[in-house]
Structure formats: C-alpha cells, structure tokens
Symmetry: D4
C-alpha cells in the first residue's frame, strides 16, 4: 500500500521538510504547492503578461497554481493541512474543504491557540496534530501498524 500525501498550507517554516525526512523509508509519495512565495504570487503575469489591476495580477497567478493544487489533492489519499502563525491562510482552509468534499482523509496540523477557530475544519478531519513528528507517526502507523517509542 502506497499512501499519496498532499501537504497543504503554510509555506514559511520547514514543516514539509520535517515530515518528508521523517517519513524516509515509508511507502509514501508527497506532493505540495509551489512554496516559493514570490513565484507563486507572480507566475500568472510572468508567463501570460502583466496586469495593471492587482486583482487580475493575483487572479492569473492563483489560477495557474490551481492546476497544481487540484491535481495534488485529487490524487492524494491523505491531505495534511498546516495552519501557521501568520497570514489569513484562507487557501489552507479552502484546500481542507475541497479535500473534505472529495472524501479525502484529512490531518490538520496547527498550534493549540488556533483550536477554536479551526473547529469546523477539525470536525472534518481524521486527526488533529500539533507537531510534524506526529504526522510522521500517523503515516508510519497507518502503513506498518508500528506505534512510536
């Protein structure tokens, strides 16, 4: 059994790297959005031409990014959604809702202070974790039956 994992959300800390390196040796395949913030913001105009309006500048970029996001979520067995300390992170919650409607298994990764604000997202998740290490432990358990320690 190979698990396909999409790592959605925050792009300013190394949580993806922690999970990917922690999961070494497990039968997993990871995908994720483009995590270069500047490229992600500007891809639309860089390829398809400049826009004067910020709305359309962002719109063109967000749609290109959607090609990758849709594909990643559609092929995932598990979608891990990370909420960090900064920004609105509505794209992370959007991905969680999208994944929920497709019946994907969802793991939410967030600091405890976001608990109340995330209750609707947690209600659709199969696990709520605080540390990337716990996500690795879940993947290891699901694939091998082995518990930590």
């Amino acid at each position: 059994m190979t698990l396909s994992i999409y790592l959605s959300g925050e792009i300013h800390t190394d949580w993806r790297e922690q999970i990917i390196s922690g999961a070494k040796g497990l039968d997993v395949v990871f995908s994720a959005p483009v995590t270069d913030h500047a490229a992600s913001d500007d891809c639309g105009v860089a390829i398809l031409g400049a826009e004067e309006q910020k709305f359309w500048h962002d719109h063109k970029g967000a749609k290109l990014n959607a090609i990758r996001t849709r594909k990643g979520i559609a092929e995932a067995d598990v979608v891990v959604v990370r909420f960090g300390d900064k920004y609105k992170q509505w794209n992370a919650a959007f991905d969680a809702g999208y994944a929920a409607a497709l019946g994907k298994s969802i793991i939410v990764l967030n600091p405890p202070e976001h608990q109340h604000a995330l209750k609707e997202v947690h209600a659709a998740a199969l696990a709520t974790a605080e540390e990337p290490r716990q996500v690795v432990e879940i993947l290891r358990y699901v694939l091998t039956g082995a518990l930590p320690g």
Copy 2:
C-alpha cells in the same frame, strides 16, 4: 428556474438580511448556518452532554452544525461566501472549498482589503462582490436578465 442559495460565512452583520430582503420577488430559496453565535458554539454539549476539554466541547458542536451546512451546500445552486472584518473565518473558506469541489457556482463577498489573501478563493468563484446589493443584482440578472439601473 428556482435558484437555491446558501449564505455562508460571517454572522455578525446583517448582510444575509440585506440579500434576502433585496431578493424579494425573485424565484430564490435561501439557506444558511445557525447564526446565533452562542447556540452554534454550545449546541453539542447542550444536547449530548458536557465536556471538560474545550477541544471536544467544540468538536461536538461543530459536527452538529455540519449536518446543516452539508445539507445547505449540497442543495445549493449558488454559494455566497462572506468574509468580514473579524475572526479567522476559516469555516467560510472551508465552505468555499467544499462548494468548489462539488462544482457549485460561488460568489465571494469581501471588503477590498482582503483581496490578496482571498486570491485562491476568488480563482474558484464566478463573481467577487463588495456589497450585498451586488449579490442581489447578480441573482436578479441570472434569473430575469434584468440589469440594475
């Protein structure tokens, strides 16, 4: 043609009332979450028994609210998602993602300062409005072909 509309998101201003009263006479049916904030937070424990942990207190409530939300979105032709000035509003973005994956027509209603943070949600929407009046005008146009003015 009857349009079924789900009004998702912010519950602290009267935007739903503005849309509902503005749409009087149109062939529309509205649904929405429970908008009594306290009831929405406490419904789980009020009905199914108290919890010591805040997480489970919230969890039980969020799941009861999901019965209504899922039904409302599943039956909607159009999902209007309102982002206001306060709170994290991850539930609104979650609903938008859920609606997008089901192929619903999405209208986003937000103040201009949220434009950049909402670009992924806007990319999945068929309209981005700033005023409830515009949502009414969209519904009127879609149903009757009449433009404002």
Copy 3:
C-alpha cells in the same frame, strides 16, 4: 429546509415512535425499514415462492427489504442508526457503512455499554446519542437553531 431522515436498526422498542412524535411540527420526513419482524423475515417466500433451504428463504426476503432500505438511505439527509440490547444487529452496522460511503450525516443511538464495540461506527458519525429525545433535539437545532431547555 426539509430534512429527510432514515431510521435504521432495532425494531423491538418504540424508539422510532418517540422520535417521530417528538419531532412533530418540525420540517422533517421520516422513512424506515418494514418493522414487522415476521413479515420482514418471510416476505421473499410469501411473494416469490417457498424455499427448502433457510439460506435462500432469508436471501429472497433480504433482497426485497433492500429495495426499501436502499431507497430510504439514498434519499436521506440524515441516517439515524439505533443499536439495542439484543441480536447481532449487523444490518444496522451495514446500513451505517452504506450511509457513510454515500456521505450521509449519521447519528448513532446506542446504550453506553456498546461504546467500545461501536467505535468505528462512531468515528463515521456526526453525533452519538443515548436517548431518542436527543435525536429530536438535534433535529430541532439543525432546523431551527433552538437549543433544549
């Protein structure tokens, strides 16, 4: 918003009547399996001819009952699954799994002593109740926002 409710499971106590009478005045439509135990067991051979083997006697009946069960669950927004004190009740758990795969909102109704044995079913449910009264309270809250008391 009309909620369509399928009442699955135990047929030897009056829990269905309690819920139906408690929900009077709410915008709900109920459906349920045939609850006449003898008719439910013998319908196949009574209509389609006797069988010597108990297996085929049961098989013919179970398939006729499936016409009603499938229809009831397919049209339901909410499936309430009741586990009582007697019998194996595998049909109730089967209905719960069937409803879960269709994305229905599930409410489980069971005495506390079955908690551990039902954990997989609870994991797929949006609420776990012990009393029919609580199911009524959930329906009232979901439809009207009103909490008990």
Copy 4:
C-alpha cells in the same frame, strides 16, 4: 488482470494468512487493517495524546484506523468480510456496507450459525463462504478460470 483484495473483519484467527498463502502465484494484491489488537485500540492516544474519557480515547484511534480502512476498501476490487465467533464485529458489517455502497464485489466468510443474522450482508454479496480455502478457490477461478479438484 490484477485483483486487489481487502481482507476485513476478525483479527483473532489466521484466516488472512490462509488466504494469502493459498493465493500464492495468483495475480493478487492484498490489503487489510492493522491486526495488532492493542495497537489498533491505542494508536490515537499513543500518537496524539492521552484522553481521560474512554469515548475519546477510542474515537482518536478509530479515526486513525479509518485512514487505512478507507484507502484499502477504495482501492479494492473485492472485499472479503470475515465474521468470527467472538465480539460484536460491527466494524466488519460497517465495512461491508461501505463496500456495497461503492459497488465493490463482496465475499462474506462466516460460520453457518451466523447465517440468519447476516442475511442483509449476504444479500449484498456475490459469494458466501465458510472456509478461507473457498475464498482462494474463488480468486483462482476469477483470475484463471480453473476450478478446484
């Protein structure tokens, strides 16, 4: 043609091993739940933190197990559901219902004394067997056309 088989249900006898070893040489891929009873019960709290309430202890574990179960059933062509002599086994019946709603081919494996209690599950199955050997013979016939003996 490769058949993917999910082996659901009883975890206290060696029926899975009998089927897997009997099917050697056939073009089959097997998957199954975690069959270490203690790990399966405690995985949630071991990874995500202890709970005081038994309900939530079980809930966290059942949800982690659901990541594996859902994936296994979703990818299966055939779901074999084994009912043994002990326990309530509602999770097995739940899996059968879940598989039925997804249109999977179901083989039920049970001792004859459970026949009547399983009639609804049998009505959704393509085969009812009593011995693991018969499941192997079915897989061999389906893949190669060869009958036993």
Copy 5:
C-alpha cells in the same frame, strides 16, 4: 415514500396494464417506453427524414427512443424488466445492464423456461418473478409492509 418504477421490455402483452391496475392506491409513479411497435420503429424517419438504408432508418428511431428510456431509467427507483416469449429482446437485457450499472433495484419478470439464459441478469436483480401479480405484491410490501393473502 413514493416509488418510481420503469417498466422495461416486452410490448406485446398487457403485463404493464396488469401491474399498473394492480398497484392502484399505492404511492407509485410508472414510466415506460413507447409501446406502439410501429411508431417505435419508424419515429426517426417520420420526424427527421427518410433513410434508404435499414440500418440508419433503425438508428434514427432507436436514438429518439433512447431519450425516453434514459430519462425513465435515470429517474426510477425500481426497474422491472420483462422477458416474453418472442423476439430477441436484447433491448430488455440492455436496459437491465444499464439499470444495474446505475445501482437501480431490478425486478426481472420472465417465464421459467428462460431461467438459465437469464442467469446473469438474475444475478444483478433483487427479485425474479413469473407473474405481474408478484411484482404488484413486491411493490405493496416495499411501500406498506403488507404481505399477500
């Protein structure tokens, strides 16, 4: 609960009328193909222009009939497929396969001499009857729980 029934197959005896009149008073809605044999054969060329080749003459007609058949089966809860004594009746078996793939409840109605030739169709059905009266009894039981006699 209203059952929607599509009556597929043989058009040369009054089996449909027997079922419809027998079901009087039940909460059922019936649909069926056009049963005027000549109109059914010639509708394509009568409306869309003559064809020299018999193949295209038939093709145009069969496609118009498909508009009605698809709609009838898609909206049905139960598809009754009648095999009579004459003709190849491949359209009846085709409808049965189409209904099976959509997960419809299927009742097959055939004389006993066709039993062996229909075994694959029977394997996908929830009931096999020989008399229209039995179909009525099934519908009555499914809707009301009442058995004949």
Copy 6:
C-alpha cells in the same frame, strides 16, 4: 414524465419561441440563457464594476452567465443546441460538450451547410434536426408516443 429542456445557442432568431409555442400542452419545462445580447455582454461590468481591458470586461460577464448556463444544463433532460448562420458560436459547441460529458440527451439544430463542421457534435447527439418544428415533434413523440401527421 416531465421533460426539462435547455435551449442553447443562437440568440438572433426566434427559434426558441417557435419551439416553446409549438410545445404548448406538452409536459415540458424550458430554460435558456439570457438572450438579450447587450445585457449578456455587459452584465459583469454593470454589476461588479467597469474594466479597462476588454478581456476582463468579457470575463466578468461570461462568468455571471455561467451561473445560469450551468444550472440550466445540469437540470435538463434534453439539451437542444442551435447553430445559426452568424458568429463563431463556440459557446454553443461548448455547451454541447458540457452536456455530453454529463450524459444529457442532445438534439442539434442546424442548417445543412454546417453538417461537416458539426460532425463531432452530431456524433454525441441523439438527433440532428434542421427545423424547430422537428424538435417539437421529437418532444411530442418522446412524451406521448404520437408521430406527426
């Protein structure tokens, strides 16, 4: 049986009116896009604000129109797609493809000179007509079995 019909395509002749008035007395419900050309082109900027770029002017309008088109096609049993003499009419062909992927019954209405260019669309249709009168005759036949003349 009520047939729901979406009338897609050309908006410069009275073909819709001919079909609707010809179908008087039949159990049909019609829907269609907004057929006021100017309103259809300008609805986006009229409601949501002006755009300097023609592309975004059109984009905003086309997306509002999509709310109505999607709803109309999704609820239709039959989609009639009319190709006239003028314009590129790519929206008509787009609607035909959209309807085909959803499994809708498609009737194409076009002058004979477009035959070759429409062959891929015809290949997905159940009827190809040249006159609105023929569409009415198809609807009458499908609903009542009556042929013209």
Copy 7:
C-alpha cells in the same frame, strides 16, 4: 496511450483469438469472461457447494462470474460486444447496457441478420462491425492513426 479492451459475448467461436492475434504489436490490454462454458456454468456449486434447485445452481455461478465481468468492464476503455448465431445472449446485451451507463466506448460485432434486433444496442455504440478484422482495424486506427490497406 494504452487501450484496455473487454471482449464480451459469444464464447463458441474464435473471434477473441482473431482480435487478439490481429492486434499484436498495438498498445492494448485485453480482458474477457471465463470462456470455458462448463466451468462458467458450474463454478458456483463447485466451490461453494451443490444446490438442488437449478435457479440457485446458476445463481451462485453467475455471481462469481460477475466478479470478473464487473472488473473487466470497469477497467475497460472499449467494450467489444459480440453477438453470434446461437443462444439468447442476454448476458452480452446486459454487458452492453452496463458499459453504456458507465460511459465506455462500445463496439458491437454482429452478423447482419441481427441488425434490427440490435438497434437499441447499436444506438449506444460508437461502431458496428461484422468482422473481427474490423475491430482490429479500429483499434489500430484509434491508437496509431493508420488506416487499412
């Protein structure tokens, strides 16, 4: 592009072998039912135990065969359905209907004398051929663009 082909229908002539050998070198994968007539008829009782009634003897076998048929059709891009000179062949027409409802590309292979009786099946097909050679030519064209001769 690899095409997956299911070869349904007649099992008494070598049409499958003709297609498979003719398609050598093309990027195709074939599947088919068990074509050993005796094994196909008796597989149920040979594995799961004898039945006194012919109906249940056949029923057990037809259900085992359905495991293979469902898998073959579900994974096919193209379903070739062959009607021969003998037998009722309702299973072939059933497979065609099943494939049509799943949106598979269907090729019908039949002698010209069956044309009228097969018109409903032809109406759902993308090609009607008389010779296995033509099926090979279709596969070659679809995969490589090369025409015969």
Copy 8:
C-alpha cells in the same frame, strides 16, 4: 508528479510539436487526436464500409475518432484547446466543454482576434495563452515552480 496533457483543436499548424519539444525533460505525457485530416475524415467508411450520404460518412468517422478523444480527455490532467485561424472549430469548443464538465484544468490557446468569441470558453479555463511557448512555461512552472527568464 506526472502531468497528463491532451492537446485538442487545430490540426494545420505545428503547435503540438512546439509544445512537445519545448516540454522535453518535464514529467509530462501527451495525447492528441489523429491529426491526419484525410484519415480523420474517412476512417469510418474505410473500416466499416462506404456510405452514400455525406452525413453518415462523417458520422461513422466522427464516432471512431470519439473513442480516442474521450480516452484522451478522460485521462488528462490538463486539456489544452487550440483555436486557429481557419474552419469553424466546433470540435475544439466541444472538447473544451466536455473537459470543463469533467473538472479538468483547461488552457486555451488562441490568437487575440478570437478573444470576444471565446469568452465563454475562457470563463471555464485556468489560463488563456497566445503562444505555444506560454503553454510550455505553464507546464514547467506547475511541475517545477520555475518561472521563465
């Protein structure tokens, strides 16, 4: 992540070759219709026999081509639809609509003079490009995060 791309539309310039050669080294798989115009027009009669009527000549061919087109679009993550300078190109718009209904990511490639006529197609697309080079840049960005220049 491997992206599967279907290249739909115009067959008279080398835009497909430009994209395929530009994408060398990327993890992509391309498919496309048969681009030999004469073969594409005549395949039906060449394989299945001549027709006197142009309509049926074209019909038989268009249906064979549909086997390839359906497969290509169904397996694609991204559908690129190219509109050129000549012909009606309704098949390209049809493919775009078909892809949209399946939820595929769509990139439209057209000269600026077609902008207004394509607004409904653009409204369903995630990108609108004028040059094949831009399509390559999108694929590179989606797969690797690298922007041009």
